[in-house]
């Protein structure tokens, strides 16, 4: 059952070969065994999960089951779930029991899925290694000395270790794709505006987008079918017809034009990652695709632009954490300002404070034009590069991350080195395009390598088709870490 696809798990449930309660218990037992080492889950509430499973079994018995009814799904701890502790990886929200459901949680509840628990993450989704979590780092199931990537590191590790069949993630600068790459799983960040941000704790609102992480493109398509759709409670949620993201999975790839940006294969890319990506491209040529070289001349500016815009938005979004309405409040203070300052100093971790300070500075009087406005202008240049590129190709491919998983503590003291691990993913968020990562080999120390696939706006179904056809021809996505 652990290596079954979501379709197979659903079929087994509907055929009464296994009950949702049994399936949920199977995963809860695995979490109990492996989570003390991996630290992929922050909160597990067996009673809540099993109650949902029981309700799902009733639906299954009544014959009213949908595609994901009864299947346990791990939720990133950035999604508010009513009655569940929702921490966003922060001391600030250590005691926060959400009084309401995020739209994504509502969608899964309506689909009959079981909430298996809340996964660990970098604090407020700010990090690329999961080391900024207040609840301790997640360990990579392929090598527990290595990081799982971030910020959706708990989700990626949980999927890789078969502690769940599928999980949700969020991606502001690569937080679905980079951990998916480092843990050898499949993840997709859809076009900005496709999944409602309601109840998803905000980091950088013009970039944040939720998406699924699973073991295959086929599973991600089923997850997207549940997660997407217009929600009037998010003013940036797009009004579009409901799509079936599985509809193109089985199309042959003959004639597909793959664009390879020369900037993604230049200095800074590890040799082992580059070789795996080139081998994947060669496999695509065997499947009938053609390759064209493209250029994204402004992509090199994505990291500096991101580290102006994302902190600026974060400094505004995180001003709500003031110790008044919810979350942490400092125990001792002299007056209101002192309460704010101590609450925030004690409640936020180092990386979050650093980004709030960057954002505060770039938005402050006298610096706004030079930093914030300039970054917004270059953001447009970066987006225009993609528009030009998509005149010559259907999808863009390249590495997801410049290297395989690095070791815990390896980049701890140098924020700039950590920021550069998202060098290939950030431009996609700035443009608002869909991007995904699929396993395409192993590099140094047999650690997984991710192939990034970038599509034009709203081309998720085509990207999932491109990924699925590769996964039919290869088996990188179905490999599992040893000892689990």
């Amino acid at each position: 059952m652990l290596n079954h696809s979501l379709q197979q798990q659903g079929d087994a449930l509907r055929a009464k070969k296994i009950s949702s309660v049994e399936l949920t218990q199977l995963y809860l037992d695995r979490i109990a065994t492996h989570n003390p080492v991996l630290n992929a889950f922050v909160t597990v509430e067996s009673a809540k999960s099993l109650a949902q499973a029981k309700a799902a079994d009733a639906q299954l018995a009544a014959g009213s089951a949908q595609a994901l009814t009864g299947i346990p799904i791990a939720q990133k701890d950035i999604f508010c779930a009513q009655g569940w502790r929702t921490t966003c990886g922060s001391k600030m929200l250590d005691n926060f029991i959400s009084p309401y459901d995020a739209h994504v949680i509502t969608q899964f509840n309506n689909a009959g899925a079981v909430n298996l628990g809340k996964t660990n993450m970098d604090e407020f989704a700010m990090g690329s290694s999961n080391e900024t979590s207040y609840f301790g780092p997640v360990r990579n199931p392929w090598d527990i000395k290595a990081v799982p990537g971030g910020s959706s590191g708990g989700a990626a590790a949980a999927v890789a270790a078969r502690l769940c069949a599928a999980a949700t993630g969020t991606d502001t600068g690569g937080s679905i794709r980079q951990p998916a790459a480092l843990c050898g799983v499949t993840g997709i960040k859809p076009t900005y505006g496709t999944v409602s941000r309601y109840g998803m704790i905000a980091f950088a609102s013009s970039l944040d987008q939720a998406g699924p992480m699973a073991r295959s493109a086929e599973d991600c398509a089923l997850m997207l079918n549940v997660m997407t759709g217009h929600d009037p409670r998010d003013s940036t949620s797009l009004v579009r017809d409901k799509e079936d993201y599985t509809r193109e999975l089985n199309k042959p790839l003959a004639g597909l034009r793959i664009g390879l940006p020369r900037e993604f294969f230049a200095e800074g890319l590890s040799q082992d990652v580059g070789q795996c990506v080139q081998a994947a491209v060669a496999e695509y040529q065997k499947l009938g695709a053609t390759v064209v070289e493209i250029s994204l001349p402004n992509a090199k500016l994505a990291v500096p632009v991101y580290y102006v815009l994302a902190p600026a938005e974060a400094s505004s979004n995180l001003s709500r954490f003031d110790g008044v309405r919810y979350g942490y409040r400092a125990p001792d203070y002299t007056d209101l300002t002192d309460m704010y300052e101590k609450t925030r100093a004690q409640g936020f971790g180092e990386e979050v404070k650093r980004r709030i300070m960057i954002g505060t500075y770039v938005l402050s009087h006298g610096y706004y034009d030079a930093y914030y406005l300039q970054a917004q202008k270059i953001r447009r240049l970066i987006a225009q590069d993609f528009t030009e590129a998509f005149k010559k190709c259907d999808v863009i491919m390249g590495p997801t991350s410049p290297s395989t998983a690095f070791n815990l503590g390896e980049k701890g003291d140098d924020p700039v080195q950590m920021y550069l691990s998202d060098i290939y993913t950030i431009a996609v968020n700035l443009a608002g395009l869909p991007g995904m990562s699929i396993p395409c080999g192993t590099g140094a120390n047999a650690m997984p390598v991710g192939l990034q696939i970038i599509g034009d706006y709203f081309k998720e179904a085509q990207m999932l088709n491109v990924a699925h056809q590769y996964q039919l021809a290869t088996d990188w996505h179905s490999r599992a870490p040893q000892g689990l």
Binding site: I97, Y328, L336, Y340, Q374, Q376, I378, Y419
Partner: protein, 95 residues
């Protein structure tokens, strides 16, 4: 770009983050490194380029001006640090 101690103290005050001298100094060094990275933007000529604030250049969606939210005061105040009589309590601000 190099930030001064006074710059960092001012940022911390604006951001409502209590920081001691050691923390200010550590932040100064790290923020200076990050701003060196950010300075790469200054070499780009962006004359005539419109700022992009959103992935799709859409206008704001509007809805009917009708009451949609329910009164969930008790649920919301159950998780507040300090409440009394339906009000959030903070240190006294008016003498």
């Amino acid at each position: 770009m190099s930030l001064t101690t006074q710059d960092v103290q001012k940022i911390a005050r604006l951001a409502r983050l209590a920081m001691n001298d050691t923390e200010i100094e550590a932040a100064r060094a790290q923020l200076s490194g990050i701003f060196e990275l950010i300075e790469q933007m200054q070499a780009v000529d962006t004359t005539g380029i419109e700022p992009m604030s959103h992935a799709q250049d859409l206008s704001q969606q509007l809805r009917e001006d009708v009451v949609t939210a329910s009164n969930d005061r008790e649920a919301f105040q159950a998780i507040a640090p300090q409440v009394e009589g339906g009000l959030y309590l903070v240190p006294q601000v008016i003498e």
